[in-house]
């Protein structure tokens, strides 16, 4: 086997290795050196982490197991500092020497750090890797004021993230307009106005000359002598190819490591790919061209006939909520170009396309980017646009038809997920799809940024021809198994008296006879909500955690979390939990976020006996139901408490436990406005005041961080129970399955909810339906303990020795 060594463990390099493994899985013995202590992760998503939309786990592209499965020797936290191109081996900073037949340099780039005094102070960072990201998140916990240097793509995304983290943010930019390399002055001023309204402050045409402070940064000094205060400085002014190892080893380097159309460097059998490589005098920093390079390189290394890489035209968009922006190609008129422009200042829409010799050479779209895919295709394929209407993009079946017909099958429609027109057409034909939603479910097209949705819709219209129903195609169906929406489903269940999941799928002609993981749990919920105590729950239509009444962990073990009403326990219960944990050798005993004790790492077959020995009700830590009611100590012991928060919490938890809700519901009860139970970020929160309770709704402490809104102020515990029952039942009857209260209230409006619940008759009726529903629940752990058939079906494992 030939030895392939790669320096660098980032997106471009690892994608190249994936391409090589696809072409020729057994040709190479592969070794990868990565300077960072992580497997390959999605650097583009760093701004999502900063903006709070993703965790590091979620952005890992190739987990460590992937390297293992493909027999790749991976050295993380180790960098190569010398290549001997004569004798063909590399030496690392830890003195390791590894021979190669082929060597790929994929060292990527570093943030360009301004060479000014003070740039090495604490609190000054680039925005390039997860380390930078974590440092910024940590700074935001302690400090208030950030300055981002650089008003380009990366700088603005970093600034938005820092705003989300609660910092005040100034953006310093050298030029008179933002993103000047992608936007013309009009688009740039629209962007600036939008970001200012989101809370960013801009210091334009300012050149930073010094970073001041003691050990840690305290501020910046500009060329004109003015200052800005800063606790954190993020430099996002560009990237610098990481070329040192190549340069030190005698390989030809200009701005990047210079490569030809087959990604070959000046040294034999040494290649470069990604942000460290310079191809035809361009260093690319966006992912699409780097993946194209990787493909060419893989073919070359595997000895396949490779088409040369001839450079890429790239499009850019900004990943900031509330900003719809797209740019590609040239920006400025040069006397040989003509512009086609639409400017609607009132609605904040601006589009400009630059034309030269009947061909699109530049695109800037702001406020409405639905033409971007089509225009980008015209640009990259150099289509003659004579007689073509540039901004005509109404998605009618006829209008889009001609356009789609001429589109080749291998053309990329969804750039985010790499879905071609051909793949979409095939999915529509072979799986009988009729709505946009179904196409997205089946192919992933349009599921990331959503920019290609109008195009996908056109393809759907074109493929279905006469059978295309424009109104139906736009509908949000429950899942890919049907075209009906939630509202239609509920109306049908009531009207036709449907009473089981199977009957619903049958009568309403599901195209997938036994449904999927999206519709079955939803139908089961809606049936239980409508038929109240008459419906028999379909356990096999629930997903694993609710079916097993335990949370599955990533290694297939489960967790056991018993109910601890209001977070109040006794010495005797604690002893019992301790004994069970010891007896079953539970690997982890941990206090959960909801004031109770979790036992983690339990084998499936041990669940029923552990439940039996605990002799406590399930805490439903796994369910779309009431999770916990967090309480503070309150008036019983606390000198500030004005109300008995523990008693109210326990009463609430005992009344509403086990209730099926569209998504999980958490409550908190505090005895005074100091709010130790964090009731302001719960689905329903109660805050004791002198002589009564404030009820807050739609708070959320998770992904969708949101402070609760005051629903009502009431005097007695009885009123609390009445208002809570009515509110919860109204949520149960009106929210979509899997819609948290925070999202639901945002959607229907707080005023609407208040108005409904202001009516005493309505509240009474809601509470009656709530009470009828609550009658049907029985304790699930106890049910399992007493039923042999449940134990057999869900909790048994069987061992067979062959030949016995």
């Amino acid at each position: 086997m030939k030895k392939l060594v790669m320096i660098g463990n980032g997106m471009a390099g690892v994608r190249t290795i994936e391409e090589i493994l696809k072409l020729s899985p057994n040709q190479f013995e592969i070794t990868i050196f990565g300077q960072e202590p992580h497997p390959n992760y999605n650097r583009i998503k760093l701004s999502n982490i900063l903006q709070g939309d993703a965790s590091f786990e979620e952005i890992i592209i190739n987990p460590l197991d992937w390297y293992k499965e493909n027999n790749i020797q991976l050295f993380t936290g180790e960098s190569v500092n010398k290549i001997d191109t004569e004798r063909k081996f590399v030496t690392t900073d830890q003195g390791r020497e590894v021979e190669y037949d082929d060597l790929i340099i994929a060292t990527g780039s570093n943030s360009f750090i301004l060479p000014i005094p003070g740039a090495d102070k604490m609190g000054v960072t680039g925005f390039r890797d997860i380390n930078d990201c974590e440092m910024m998140i940590k700074s935001a916990e302690e400090y208030k004021k950030a300055v981002v240097i650089g008003g380009g793509l990366l700088g603005l995304e970093a600034a938005r993230g820092l705003l989300n983290l609660g910092m005040k943010v100034d953006v310093v930019h050298l030029m008179p307009s933002l993103m000047e390399r992608q936007l013309d002055p009009i688009a740039s001023s629209l962007l600036k106005a939008e970001l200012e309204s989101q809370g960013m402050r801009f210091l334009m045409e300012n050149e930073t000359v010094e970073i001041i402070g003691d050990e840690r940064v305290a501020g910046l000094r500009f060329k004109d002598g003015s200052f800005a205060r800063a606790d954190l400085v993020v430099m996002a002014i560009g990237i610098k190819s990481n070329t040192s190892v190549a340069r030190d080893s005698g390989i030809y380097v200009n701005r990047g490591i210079v490569v030809n159309d087959f990604m070959e460097t000046s040294a034999p059998n040494v290649y470069a790919v990604g942000e460290c490589a310079e191809h035809r005098e361009i260093v690319y920093g966006l992912v699409a061209p780097l993946y194209e390079q990787g493909k060419v390189l893989a073919e070359r290394i595997c000895g396949k006939e490779a088409a040369p890489y001839e450079g890429s035209v790239t499009g850019t968009q900004l990943k900031i909520a509330g900003v719809d922006l797209y740019s590609a190609g040239e920006i400025f008129e040069d006397g040989t170009t003509k512009s086609i422009m639409v400017y609607n200042e009132f609605e904040g829409i601006y589009k400009r396309v630059l034309i030269r010799d009947n061909r699109v050479v530049g695109i800037v779209l702001y406020g409405d980017t639905k033409d971007s895919t089509r225009l980008f295709r015209m640009l990259s394929k150099k289509e003659d646009i004579t007689g073509v209407s540039i901004f005509e993009s109404q998605c009618s079946a006829e209008g889009g038809g001609g356009d789609i017909a001429s589109m080749p099958n291998d053309e990329l429609v969804c750039g985010c997920n790499g879905v071609t027109k051909g793949a979409i057409v095939e999915a529509i034909k072979t799986q009988g799809l009729t709505t946009l939603d179904q196409v997205s479910h089946c192919t992933n097209a349009g599921r990331s940024c959503g920019r290609c949705k109008p195009m996908v819709n056109d393809i759907l219209a074109y493929t279905l021809g006469d059978q295309f129903d424009a109104a139906a195609a736009q509908k949000t169906s429950i899942c890919g198994c049907t075209t009906i929406s939630r509202e239609e489903l509920i109306a049908e269940i009531k009207e036709k008296g449907l009473s089981s999941v199977k009957e619903v799928m049958n009568v309403l002609e599901w195209n997938n006879e036994e449904g999927c993981t999206k519709c079955r749990p939803a139908i089961n919920y809606y049936l239980g909500m409508i038929h109240m105590d008459e419906y028999k729950d379909d356990r096999d239509s629930r997903l694993v955690n609710e079916k097993m009444h335990a949370n599955i962990q990533k290694d297939g073990t489960y967790s056991v979390v018993p109910r601890m009403y209001g977070g109040v326990t006794t010495a005797a219960d604690l002893k019992k939990i301790a004994e069970v944990a010891e007896k079953y050798e539970v690997p982890l005993v941990k206090l959960t976020g909801g004031q109770r004790i979790g036992l983690f790492g339990v084998k499936k077959e041990d669940l029923p006996s552990m439940w039996k020995e605990l002799d406590m009700p399930s805490g439903y830590a796994y369910g779309k139901t009431l999770r916990t009611v967090k309480t503070c100590v309150g008036a019983q012991f606390c000198r500030y408490g004005t109300q008995d928060s523990m008693s109210l919490g326990i009463e609430l938890e005992k009344k509403f436990e086990r209730l099926d809700t569209p998504h999980k519901v958490k409550m908190g009860v505090s005895a005074c406005p100091r709010n130790c139970s964090e009731a302001g970020i719960k689905d329903i929160g109660f805050v004791g005041i002198d002589g009564g309770w404030e009820i807050y709704i739609a708070g959320n402490g998770g992904v969708d961080l949101r402070a609760g809104d005051l629903l009502a102020t009431v005097k007695t515990e009885a009123e609390v129970m009445e208002m809570t029952g009515a509110y919860l039942q109204y949520y149960r009857e009106n929210a979509n399955y899997l819609e948290r209260t925070s999202k639901w209230v945002e959607r229907v409006g707080l005023e609407h909810v208040k108005e409904v619940l202001a009516n005493e008759e309505t509240r009474k009726a809601l509470n009656e339906r709530m009470d009828q529903t609550l009658k049907k629940y029985i304790e699930p752990w106890n049910e399992a303990i007493e039923s042999e058939s449940i134990k057999d079906k869900y909790y048994a494992v069987h061992t067979v020795k062959a030949g016995e």
Binding site: N62, K547, G556
Partner: protein, 106 residues
Amino acid sequence: MITTKTMTLAANYSDLPVRAGYAVNINDIEIALFKVTNGRVYAIENHSPHPKGGVLTEGLVSGEYVYCPVYDWKISLVDGKVQAPDTGQVKTFQVEVEGDNVYIII
């Protein structure tokens, strides 16, 4: 090398629940048996091809497919293939049903 195949009695047909998984360990191979609505029995390795792994017995069964309970991949019980947009394949085992005996051929 001569490879031998062994027929192993894995379960009783009447013990298998419909539309649910049945975990069985045969000579340290974890196997998931599924009896689907039409009565057929399928055997696949009880391990998701998702890079992070996970068991399959607790997945939701629909027709001749099971959804991986941890990462929601749709997997064919017939040939083990992961359905688009995800990719991969689970090992499948041949099943023989004779009377009430369910054999797996390994």
